[in-house]
């Protein structure tokens, strides 16, 4: 009787705590200094997540359509000390509206981007630097050739994406952390929670690491 109770209990405790030295940190969009919602319709804007009315763009949502993208870079190096290895990394993408099935594509961005980032430019300071292909679309130049994830979205809610490999690449230094770009390529749209409007903290990156 005791064994019947204790064995599952021990297993449950192991699952919950993992290795005794493993730690999990959660970063959100609030921790990020680099984010943007770029759009071919507003090629010079950093925050063009939603086309609100003629000539008016506002990141009320991150409404992804073909030609629009969301960029985000988490400061992983600030929260995970050296000498560890990444055991798991999950990225929470908050979907707030999806009228019909869409496929979200997640690619690692390549190279620096910064102030004035837009559909046309990686940055405009200290000088203007264009994307190789507008919209950060250059494969192997602006973004990784292969998508890190292709997520089928059918409804609202949190989409959990396994990004362990990407985070490990960044943490190890094998690839420079320039963040991710999220796009869709098929007709239609999907709305994601905006980190630059009323609600924040919905874009979570959960990283579990342990000593090497």
């Amino acid at each position: 009787m005791i064994r019947q109770v204790m064995l599952p209990l021990c297993m449950a405790l192991t699952v919950l705590t993992g290795s005794a030295s493993a730690k999990t940190v959660v970063l959100t969009d609030v921790d990020c200094e680099q984010m943007a919602a770029i759009s071919a319709e507003a090629p010079l804007l950093s925050w063009a997540g939603y086309h609100a009315s003629a000539g008016v763009f506002a990141p009320v949502y991150i409404e992804l359509v073909p030609g629009r993208a969301f960029l985000i870079r988490y400061p992983i190096d600030k929260v995970i000390p050296p000498g560890n290895r990444i055991t798991q990394a999950e990225w929470v993408v908050p979907v707030v509206y999806c009228p019909r099935e869409q496929k979200l594509l997640v690619h690692r961005l390549l190279g620096e981007w910064g102030a004035g980032v837009s559909h046309l430019y990686r940055s405009v300071r200290p000088q203007k630097v264009e994307w190789n292909t507008p919209g950060a679309g250059g494969a192997s130049s602006d973004r990784a050739i292969k998508a890190s994830a292709a997520v089928r979205v059918t409804d609202i809610g949190e989409q959990i994406i396994n990004v362990t490999q990407d985070v490990e690449l960044w943490y190890s230094g094998a690839s420079k952390n320039a963040g991710w770009i999220v796009t869709i390529e098929t007709k239609g749209f999907v709305r994601l929670s905006s980190p630059m409007w009323m609600t924040r903290g919905n874009w979570k990156l959960r990283i579990t690491y342990e000593p090497e």
Partner: protein, 389 residues
């Protein structure tokens, strides 16, 4: 009235907690702020300084006078305790009390521009028969004593009335004067708002395309605009290079850059949403491409880089413990600091070389401080306070 001249004494370093670059600035004991002039007056609504004319103007929401004008001596101190006062004109038999919402000095000419409105019965409505006669914009020649009203204009169906806030601003070239609280379609007034401007001649007075005096707006936004919805509209105005403008409406910033044909308007919300609308106020760094903002009635201020007025990357937010802000931010350009007032205090935050907040906060007592102004010439911060009973 009294003034106080503070010497730099205690620099209060309050370690801030950081989440990313966001800061929580804790309260501390009172200190003193260098070159701070507290001006005790009737309840203040707005303030402005003219380094050219050597004047400090304070607009009052209540009291006998609408505007108090203090001459400054060559040290930037009040030359006299007794200001000249202005009573703003209203139409005959006008029942609602009028008061100034914003004061702006011309950078070179001895002109004071005053934007006025009336006490609120219902926010931002189309003017009635009496309201149609109210001139919102008053232009005074402050070289004369007493100051002379040289122009009064901005009246009629396109100007919403009963607004609690509204700002005016001169373009960088002083060739335009931007005005707030316009009704998008005066023929069918709704909550759809608009903004516009007057063209000014070399003397700082409104003119038409033929350089003749006019009381008509040179331009008004006439297309429905999602970012301009409800009143007040244009509670702060920042004018940048190439006639780019950043203003405010229900939430956050609204950038209006007519040089960007594809996307001239961009609305972004930088602050935390704490249940309040129509309370954003702005400032711009004098040399760095940085915007600063705060929400009146909140304890939060923010800064964000911009390109041509369009916000980019992310905002840095700083919350000030136990503060309830009554003013927007004000950049103290000579000191690379930002000042704000609220909760009977003046707060000063240091900026780093990128124009972002450091985790340092100074504060000093300033009873019911509700209007602040800064003189780059004298590197002096003026704060309108009320007499402590």
């Amino acid at each position: 009235m009294r003034m106080a001249f503070g010497l730099l004494g205690l620099l209060l370093l309050i370690p801030g907690q950081t989440a990313g670059e966001n800061l929580k600035l804790a309260s501390a004991t009172e200190g003193t702020i260098d070159r701070l002039v507290l001006v005790t007056t009737a309840p203040a609504a707005c303030a402005a300084v003219s380094d050219t004319a050597g004047l400090l103007a304070i607009g009052h929401r209540t009291g006998e006078a609408h505007v108090s004008l203090f001459a400054l001596n060559d040290q930037g101190q009040l030359a006299t305790d007794a200001p000249l006062t202005l009573t703003l004109p209203t139409p005959a038999a006008f029942e609602q009390k009028n008061h100034p919402l914003c004061l702006v000095f011309h950078p070179k000419k001895p002109l004071l521009y005053v934007w006025q409105d009336v006490e609120i019965k219902q926010t931002g409505v189309a003017p009635d028969a009496n309201g149609l006669k109210l001139n919102h914009l008053l232009i005074y020649d402050v070289a004369k004593s007493p100051p002379a009203l040289v122009r009064e204009l901005a009246r009629g169906a396109e100007y919403a009335i009963d607004n609690q806030a509204g700002a005016i601003a001169l373009s960088r070239s002083a060739g335009r004067l931007y005005v707030p609280n316009l009704i998008l379609d005066p023929a069918k007034p709704t909550t759809a708002a608009s903004l516009g401007y007057f063209n000014l001649d070399a003397e700082g007075l409104p003119v038409d395309a033929d350089q003749k005096p006019t009381d008509k707006l040179a331009f008004r936004i006439t297309k429905p605009n999602w970012a301009l919805s409800g009143f007040p509209c244009g509670m702060s105005y920042l004018t940048l290079e190439n006639d780019a403008v950043v203003t405010t409406n229900s939430i956050g910033t609204v950038t209006w850059n007519e040089n960007n044909a594809a996307s001239p308007f961009n609305a972004v919300m930088q602050r935390s949403f704490l249940g309040k609308y129509y309370n954003d106020r702005l400032a711009a760094h004098s040399t760095l491409p940085m915007l600063y903002g705060s929400g009146l009635g909140t304890n939060e201020t923010w800064c964000m880089e911009h390109v041509g007025g369009f916000p980019t990357l992310t905002a840095q937010r700083a919350t000030i413990e136990r503060a309830s802000l009554t003013t927007g931010p004000l950049v103290l350009s000579k000191r690379n600091q930002v000042a704000l007032a609220g909760s009977d205090r003046v707060y000063v935050l240091d900026l780093n070389d990128r124009g972002r907040f450091k985790a340092t906060l100074m504060r000093t007592r300033a009873p019911k401080a509700a209007a602040i102004a800064y003189s780059p010439r004298f590197d002096t911060l003026y704060v309108a306070v009320e007499k402590v009973k």
